[in-house]
Amino acid sequence: MSDHHDHGHDHDHAPVTDAEEPEAARRARALEALLVERGVIEREDVRRGIDWLVSRSPTDGARLVARAWVDAEFRERLLADARSAAHELGLDPGPSPVVVALENSARVHHVVVCTLCSCYPRALLGPPPDWYKSLPYRSRAVSEPRGVLEEFGLDVGDKVEVRVVDSTADIRYLVVPRRPEGTEELSEEELAALVTRDSMIGVAEPTAPPVPA
């Protein structure tokens, strides 16, 4: 325990720059060292966990969304039980016992946040973006969601009800965005390419389809 960081920590910090290791990283390393030393975990477990996390990406979530857009019965199953729907496509929905897909419509727009930490459907979307874990997003997504959406370039309009979902417990939430107009001719694979990570968090619409030549 040579690199033990041992002052109890409630004071403010100067902004952490790239040149310096973030406080959280040092704390994580210290914790890992301690857990390994006590035999609670092995370094191999940590490495496997990191490998799993970085192997995940939003393309899995996008496959679920694209299938739901083209297959009404699958859409029903996805909205009823997203874990089973993921298994159906051969995707790994992750360790959460319940995954819920929230469907956007002409009347309702969903946004996902975790105000307490950074709960996120990592298995289906990959590692969360830094802003998702930032304090400003975590606090403002609940207190002024429309302002946050506008900063992401999204104006949902007065006729749409904004529903913010705070993932405070074991459930993981995935937004099913609206299918863009003018995509009737696209294949399921082409549709999946339009489904971005941010559109499945709810801070953006899917990418517009390519304009036909």
Partner: protein, 93 residues
């Protein structure tokens, strides 16, 4: 399961030392049970190495955005949903 969808509930506002998963901005607020997720291990004991048993009922509870943040100019229909464990919910008569 003590509550069912459609039921009005209030989130307890109480001192809780140690880990819990009920955000402060919801405490004391009234909402409606939207969905029953099932029974889950208790994060308040699991955080300290216990097995989290017995499992507790977990609900998705919906709130009016304006009730939570009255000083913000939220839209009348906007809502906020969060997962709340049963022992944090109080019956509203």
């Amino acid at each position: 399961m003590r509550f069912s969808p459609g039921q009005t509930v209030r989130v307890a506002a109480r001192d809780h030392r140690g880990h819990h998963r009920t955000p402060g901005y919801l405490q004391g607020r009234t909402g409606v049970v939207e969905r029953v997720h099932g029974a889950f291990t208790n994060p308040e004991t699991r955080a300290y190495g216990a097995d989290g048993l017995p499992r507790l009922a977990l609900y998705l509870v919906g709130f009016a955005q304006r009730d939570l943040f009255p000083d913000r100019e939220g839209h009348a229909g906007d809502r906020l949903y969060a997962d709340v464990f049963e022992h944090w919910l109080v019956v509203v008569a």
